[in-house]
Amino acid sequence: MPATQSRINDFVIKIATVNGTGSASANGLLMKALFRMGIPVTGKNLFPSNIQGLPTWYEVRANRDGYISRSGRVDVMVAMNAQTYERDMREVTPGGFLIYDSTWPRRAVEVREDITVLGVPLAAMCNERFKASRVRILMKNIAYVGVLSALMGIDRSILQALLEETFATKPKLVESNLEAIDIGYQYALENFTCPLPVRAQTMGDNAGKILIDGNAAAALGCLYAGATVGAWYPITPSTSLMDAFKGYCQQFRRDPENGRNNYCIVQAEDELAAAGIVLGASWCGARAFTPTSGPGISLMSEFIGFAYYAEIPSVFFDVQRVGPSTGMPTRTQQCDILLCAYASHGDTRHPLLLPSDPAECFEMAVHAFDMAERLQTPIFVLSDLDVGMNDWMIPELAWDDSYRPDRGKVLGPADLDELEKFYRYLDRDGDGIPYRTYPGEDARGAYFVRGSGHNRFGGYTEDGEEYRDVLDRLLVKWDTARGLVPEPVLQAAAEKTSVGLIAFGSSDGAVTEALDELAEEGIDVDYLRIRGFPFNSEVQAFLDGHETVFVVEQNRDAQMRSLLLMETQACSTKLIPILHYNGMPIPSDCVVQGVASNLGNRKKEAAA
């Protein structure tokens, strides 16, 4: 047996299965069991754009120190898919383990001496125990959880408790699932030395933590913000946001007396219409939003420009996926930064919110509605497939019951009594934000929304000065927005350093882990995590305060770096891009290598 380092509560399990075979519930079970043992865990779903039949992988990283990024290593591979067996075998880290279904012989061209291969006749055993063919397939997957339970010390009683909770109303299913677990568990105990040196050990119970994906958290944010109208066109990876919103609405937004809905969700004919519905609803005074992904933003751009110019509050969630074009719909990227910042023709600029985990998806969803209505403009929440669809461990979400939405500057009939005449686009307060009225309330507040040239009174104009007057006022509003976006988070290095690093969104986990690693090697780096656009003075101060600033992002063209160069006084030579864009979540190695190689080269240059 190859030498294996002991890895307790620090490992990656990767499970290779076939799409549509019910492996999601088996993987969820495994993940939750580790979570309840008090070990920090994250789960990443690497799935195909397919309904059934193509290979799919699920990676669980358990790490006692709480590192959550994709690590790149595989300590235990469960290779359930014959189609990808060879490739899966190659991925196992030396000293690691490969578990496979030995019902059928697997012929591998390559033989690896540096890993341990464990065959378990899962299909054969399940076929013997279960009759229906669909049940056999499902139970085969549950059975590997049993194998892992024995091999890796995963608490069997927790598995049982989880199954009992999941199938509370279907005791028969609890029974069959437990049977499947036992099949795997017993086989492993009888045939292998259990537990392996790579294993889990209870270290608490993760009290105060939850497992959630960013789309569900964002949907909860919309619910708690008081959004009543949701419009959308189905698109991966944002679909589960509206699915979740609908589910929460059915639970919390039904009139208890008559069962009617206190919400309206419209599945539009396309993303153009989804954007139009959001604008129409917001115009009438509802909090309205649409979840989409890059291709949807392309289609919505016409209305986004309209909303910017006609000043209609609107909230867009862009759960980014790999572009350009259709790209790879089930892979992650941060590639819509520039698209969203300047969406639509003409001079347009839009605030962006950049959540790094589901907790921020929740908070920023609420904040997005407040900002949209305060500023009367489109607001983008830019998450990505990694944040949106993967399972994250975060502190329990908290809600402050004293929160009341900021509906912005809205005049009702009583306010209109005080006015000689209402003008829609007049800046009375000097912050660039005019007052609006809701349709349906008062004829004195009536105005005409238009995307064509208009003056400060809301009238149509083709007069150049009148047009410019409004366009320049929108820039005043842009400055007001600077004070409303979430502030960046500064994580200063232990020692004073001239090296800085800027990252945002789902790169945070990889950066945090990388910086700890670099610090151990004596490389100190200050880290600024940007959480919003327009950039405020803290971003400028950080750029000014460092000689070198690495900009870490998940796209090819260094879009955030470009945005920084366009929207701050930064000098291009000091901003060094570190880029990752193969569609997988960014691993910490990428950041470590990016920083170390650049600084190393500089040392060499200095020495030469």
Partner: protein, 351 residues
């Protein structure tokens, strides 16, 4: 769309409607369309109809897309909120507006380019969704603002001002609405105010998407010899199939009508439509018969008008969705927000 304020002249003894408003209270700013444009006649009919219906201006929202037709919401009901959206996208904005506040009375004004070309998808889906609105298509067969290109409603064989003959098939808005399963489809002519006013009222009363296709000649680019959307051609080939009388709620039906010749339709708001058949064979409630009739007449070059099809029982968007009665915007935040205790409880299942 130049902004011309209309002079306000006080006239003594001007008649007022049931809520004390004068006809001019339903007017907007002055039109900047060409003199004689059919659209201005439609605007006048809209003003007349809304005044007669005694609707409070602030209850009304008026929306449009882009094009000559889409300028017109500025020309009526200045006390209503207006939304001049982007080209072909008026229906989605109307959908959102009504999603937020179903108590609003919604009128959308579009054109043949706006609804049958760039906005064909949104037009179709407003019908499919059965959005509770009056959807007027001011149909002149050409793009006026860009100087006279054929639109999708131009008939095959119709001649452009510069002599070009259209060889493509025409998209018929009313027939399309019926074929899509629409609940209300009507056609009229900008020159026939007597027919148009009751149809507008019927469309407003109808609890769903009321499509009203109005032939509205373009005096500048499509009113010549050889055009099938000219004043002369339309008058000559005008073939009303049904005449509609609109009888408001609480008003007695006094006219005597012959059984079989006149069809009374009771609307959900209590008003009644009396459909007087010009052609005794015509049945505006039989979808396939209506389509057959329309096709037969179209092949003869006739412009069939009237309330062509009605099914007042098809559920509209909110009925299908199960939305509460009354505007969602009227709900207090406390009703919408489940509170911290519910959030804590919900998260017990996330571990």
């Amino acid at each position: 769309m130049t902004f011309i304020a209309k002079p306000r002249v006080e006239l003594p003894n001007e008649p007022v409607n049931a809520i004390g408003l004068r006809l001019r209270d339903y007017e907007g700013v002055g039109s900047t369309l060409c003199a004689g444009c059919g659209h201005d006649s439609i605007t006048a009919a809209i003003i007349q109809a809304f005044w007669e219906l005694s609707l409070r201006p602030e209850r009304v929202i008026k929306l449009s897309g882009i094009g000559c037709s889409s300028k017109t919401p500025a020309y009526f009901i200045s006390g209503a909120h207006g939304f001049n959206s982007v080209h072909g996208r008026m229906p989605s904005v109307a959908t959102g507006a009504l999603a937020a506040n179903r108590d609003l009375v919604c009128i959308g004004v579009s054109g043949d380019g706006d609804s049958l070309s760039i906005g064909f998808g949104q037009f179709g889906h407003a019908v499919r969704r059965n959005l509770n609105m009056l959807y007027i298509i001011e149909n002149n067969g050409v793009y006026g603002l860009t100087k006279g290109q054929f639109s999708a409603s131009a008939d095959p064989g119709s001649k452009a001002k510069r002599g070009e003959v259209n060889q493509m098939q025409c998209i018929d808005a009313a027939e399309t609405a019926i074929a899509l399963g629409g609940a209300f489809a009507a056609r009229s002519f900008s020159g026939d105010r007597e027919q148009l006013v009751p149809l507008i009222k019927a469309g407003i009363s109808h609890p769903g998407c009321a499509v009203l296709d109005v032939v509205s000649p373009c005096v500048t680019f499509n009113d010549h010899e050889g055009s099938t959307k000219s004043y002369a051609y339309t008058r000559e080939h005008y073939a009303p199939a049904v005449q509609t009388d609109y009888i408001p709620r609480a008003e007695q039906i006094t006219a005597e009508y012959e059984e079989g010749q006149t069809l009374p339709v009771t609307m959900h708001d209590g008003s009644t439509l009396l459909l007087r058949k010009v052609d005794a064979e015509y049945d505006p409630t039989d979808r396939s018969a209506v389509l057959r009739y329309l096709e037969a007449h179209r092949s003869r070059g006739e412009v069939v008008t009237g309330l062509l099809f009605i099914n007042e029982d098809l559920p509209e968007m909110h009925e299908i969705a199960g939305t509460r009665q009354g505007a969602l915007t009227a709900l207090p935040f406390e009703t919408l927000n489940p509170g911290s205790a519910a959030l804590a409880e919900l998260q017990r299942r996330m571990r």
